[in-house]
C-alpha cells in the first residue's frame, strides 16, 4: 500500500490534534470530524477539512459509524485514525473500515476483539507461559472451593464481590484459618450492598505498581518495545500521572518485561501500536493484566525518552511499511513525566466544563504540551474531562520533577477548574519524590493519610 493521501481523524480534543500534527509532519491531508458542540474546537480548525457528524451526544456523533464512514467517503479519505476512546477499541468498526476499503490505523479487528475479552486475553498469555494475575476463573460458591483456590494462589488473597465496587464486599485474607470467616462476611456484605452474594477469589498483590510496555508490530512479523511506563498514580483506575522510565525498575527487570511483552505481541501476530500492562509486586515479580490495542493517552512520555514519534510510526506501519526501528535502536534518555490536566474540581473531582476565558501554556526547556485549549475555547460537558497534557523531561528524574513543578506554576487556565493544584501537591509528596508509590498511593494521598 502506498502512503496515505488523506486521513480522517475519528476523534476530538488533544488526541485528534496529536494525530493531525503527525499527519502534517508526514505531508498527509487531514479530515476532522466533529459534533455540533465542537464546531469551534481546535482540532476542527487545524485540519484541512472538517465534517460535522452529529449532535453533542457521542453515540450519535463520535461513535456514529455510518456518519463517520460517510464523512470519509465524501472527503475521499483513504484511512482512519481512531485515537483513543470512542471507536478505538471497537473491533466491528475496524472490520467495517477495512471492508469499505478504508485502512484502519490500528491493530487487526481480531486482535482488538481478543484483547477486549480480558479472560480470553489472559488465557492466551497463560498458554504462552506468561505470568498472569492469578485468581479464580469465575464465581466461587463454597468455602471449600475458596480454600482450594487460595492454596493454589498462595496467601494473601482477596475475596471480591462479583457485583462489587468501591471496596464493599472486599476482604483481604492473609492465612487459611482466616478464610472461612472472611468468606462468609464478604458474601454477607455483598448480599447487603448489591443484593447478590457472588464472590470470587484473586491473588492479593501488596502495594503493586502498574507498569506497562509500549509495543509496536509491523505486518512483517517484527515487534519492537519502547521501554516501560509507570502509571501507578491512579484514582479509581483512572491514570493521572505517568512516568518513563519507572523509578523502581532495574535494567534486568526492564529487559525481562520487554522480552515478555515482545513474546505476547508476537504470539498473536500483533500489528501496530499496543500496550502490555502488568502488575509489578514488591519483589519485582510481574503479572500480565491486559493489553490495550490503541495508542495510549500517556504515549508522550515514551516518545520523549526514546525520541521516537509513535503516532507517525502507527501511520507508517498501517500504510504497509516495516518498522523504522530495530530493538537496538531504542535507547531511553533522561526521564519524562506526564500530568493529565482534567477540567475538574481538584478536591471533589466533579467535572468543570465551561468556556476557557484565558489560557497561557507553559513553555521553556524540557516542556511539551499536548492540548486542545485556546483562549475562548469551550470545554463541553459531554466528553472526557481531559483537556491538556503537560509532559516534562529532564536529564534526571529530579530535573523532570522540578520542571513539571515549574510548568504547573506557569500554566494558566481561567474559566474552568482544573486538577493542577492536586498535581502540584503530588509532586511535592516525599514518597512520590523518592519514587516509592503504588496503585494505592493516590486514594490514600487524597484521604490525607
Amino acid at each position: 500500500m502506498a502512503m496515505f493521501n488523506k486521513i480522517l481523524v475519528a476523534n476530538r480534543g488533544e488526541i485528534a490534534l496529536r494525530v493531525i500534527r503527525a499527519c502534517k509532519e508526514l505531508g498527509i491531508r487531514t479530515v476532522a470530524i466533529y459534533s455540533e458542540i465542537d464546531a469551534r474546537a481546535l482540532h476542527v480548525r487545524v485540519a484541512d477539512e472538517r465534517v460535522c457528524v452529529g449532535p453533542a451526544d457521542n453515540a450519535l456523533s463520535y461513535r456514529n459509524i455510518p456518519n463517520i464512514l460517510s464523512a470519509a467517503e465524501i472527503t475521499g479519505a483513504d484511512a482512519i485514525h481512531p485515537g483513543y476512546g470512542f471507536l478505538a477499541e471497537n473491533p466491528h468498526f475496524a472490520e467495517v473500515c477495512e471492508s469499505v476499503g478504508l485502512r484502519f490505523i490500528g491493530p487487526r479487528a481480531e486482535h482488538i476483539a481478543m484483547m477486549g475479552d480480558k479472560a480470553k486475553a489472559r488465557e492466551v498469555m497463560r498458554k504462552k507461559s506468561i505470568p498472569v494475575v492469578a485468581g479464580s476463573e469465575g464465581v466461587v460458591s463454597s468455602e471449600q472451593e475458596a480454600v482450594r483456590i487460595a492454596a493454589t494462589l498462595g496467601y494473601p488473597v482477596m475475596i471480591k464481590a462479583a457485583a462489587g465496587g468501591g471496596g464493599r464486599g472486599l476482604r483481604v485474607v492473609n492465612r487459611e484459618d482466616e478464610l472461612t470467616k472472611s468468606f462468609q462476611s464478604a458474601q454477607a456484605e455483598a448480599k447487603a450492598a448489591f443484593g447478590d452474594d457472588s464472590v470470587y477469589v484473586e491473588k492479593y498483590y501488596i502495594e503493586p505498581r502498574h507498569i506497562e510496555i509500549q509495543v509496536m508490530g509491523d505486518d512483517k512479523g517484527r515487534v519492537v518495545t519502547f521501554g516501560e511506563r509507570d502509571c501507578s498514580i491512579q484514582r479509581r483506575h483512572q491514570k493521572l500521572l505517568e512516568e518513563s522510565p519507572s523509578p523502581v525498575i532495574e535494567e534486568p527487570v526492564r529487559r525481562e518485561l520487554s522480552r515478555v511483552a515482545t513474546e505476547a505481541a508476537r504470539a498473536v501476530g500483533y500489528v501496530n501500536a499496543g500496550t502490555v500492562e502488568f502488575l509489578l509486586d514488591k519483589q519485582s515479580n510481574f503479572y500480565f493484566l491486559e493489553m490495550n490495542t490503541r495508542i495510549q493517552v500517556e504515549h508522550p512520555v515514551t516518545e520523549v525518552v526514546t525520541g521516537i514519534d509513535l503516532v507517525k510510526e502507527q501511520i507508517l506501519i498501517a500504510s504497509g511499511r516495516p518498522l523504522s526501528y530495530r530493538q537496538h535502536d531504542i535507547r531511553l534518555r533522561g526521564c519524562a513525566i506526564e500530568c493529565r490536566i482534567n477540567a475538574e474540581c481538584p478536591e471533589t473531582f466533579t467535572p468543570s466544563p465551561g468556556t476557557v476565558t484565558d489560557y497561557v501554556a507553559p513553555g521553556g526547556p524540557g516542556i511539551r504540551v499536548d492540548s486542545a485549549l485556546y483562549p475562548g475555547c469551550v470545554v463541553p460537558p459531554h466528553y472526557d474531562s481531559l483537556v491538556s497534557k503537560i509532559i516534562a523531561f529532564g536529564d534526571t528524574r529530579e530535573e523532570a520533577i522540578a520542571r513539571m513543578q515549574r510548568a504547573l506554576e506557569e500554566c494558566w487556565i481561567e474559566g474552568i477548574k482544573t486538577n493542577i493544584p492536586l498535581h502540584r501537591r503530588i509532586l511535592k509528596d516525599p514518597a512520590f519524590l523518592k519514587g516509592r508509590y503504588s496503585t494505592n498511593f493516590l486514594e490514600k494521598f487524597i484521604a490525607g493519610e
Binding site: E36, A39, R45, V51, P55, N67, T75
Partner: protein, 154 residues
C-alpha cells in the same frame, strides 16, 4: 482617564441623552453605551472567533453546520446524516422538487446517499420550497441546511 472622569462622562451622557460614546486619549480608550437606545444590537464578543486559525486551514468540504446563515423566512430542512446530496432518484430522472413547488408533509425532497444507501429525505410539514441550498451531487454534513421551506404558503 480616571474613575472620576468616566463618571463625569456618564453623567454628561445621561444629561445629553447620548446613547453611545467612545473616547481615546494617549493610549486610553473608553467606550460607553447607554441601555436606553431602541433597536440596539447586542455586542458580540469575538474572543473565540479565531479567524487566524481559519486562515491556516484549507476550505472546509462544506460550511460548518454550527453556523448556518440565518434564514430570512421559512424553516430549514437539515441533513440528518452525512453523505451525498441528490435532487433526483437517478441521474436522468426529474428533480423531486423545484423552487416554488408546494409540498406535502412526508413528500420526498431529495436523497442523501451514504454507504451506497439512498436515504430519502421527506418534508416534515406541508409548505412551499423557497430555496434549494445545496447543489446536486455535493457532499453534505450532519445538520447542513438543504432546503428552505415556507410552512404556511400564501
Amino acid at each position: 482617564m480616571n474613575l472620576k472622569e468616566i463618571k463625569e462622562l456618564m453623567e454628561l451622557m445621561r444629561q445629553m441623552g447620548v446613547s453611545e460614546l467612545e473616547v481615546e486619549r494617549s493610549g486610553v480608550r473608553v467606550r460607553i453605551r447607554s441601555g436606553r437606545a431602541a433597536g440596539e444590537e447586542p455586542v458580540v464578543s469575538v474572543l473565540a472567533e479565531r479567524s487566524a486559525l481559519d486562515v491556516t486551514a484549507a476550505k472546509p468540504a462544506a460550511e460548518p453546520a454550527a453556523a448556518p446563515a440565518e434564514p430570512e423566512r421559512g424553516v430549514l430542512v437539515q441533513s440528518p446524516i452525512v453523505g451525498t446530496f441528490y435532487r433526483s432518484a437517478s441521474p436522468d430522472g426529474p428533480n423531486y422538487v423545484e423552487v416554488g413547488d408546494v409540498v406535502k408533509k412526508g413528500q420526498i425532497l431529495c436523497i442523501v446517499e451514504a454507504m451506497k444507501l439512498m436515504n430519502e429525505i421527506e418534508s416534515e410539514s406541508d409548505g412551499k420550497i423557497l430555496e434549494v441550498l445545496v447543489e446536486n451531487a455535493r457532499p453534505v454534513e450532519y445538520g447542513q441546511p438543504l432546503f428552505r421551506i415556507d410552512p404556511a404558503p400564501a
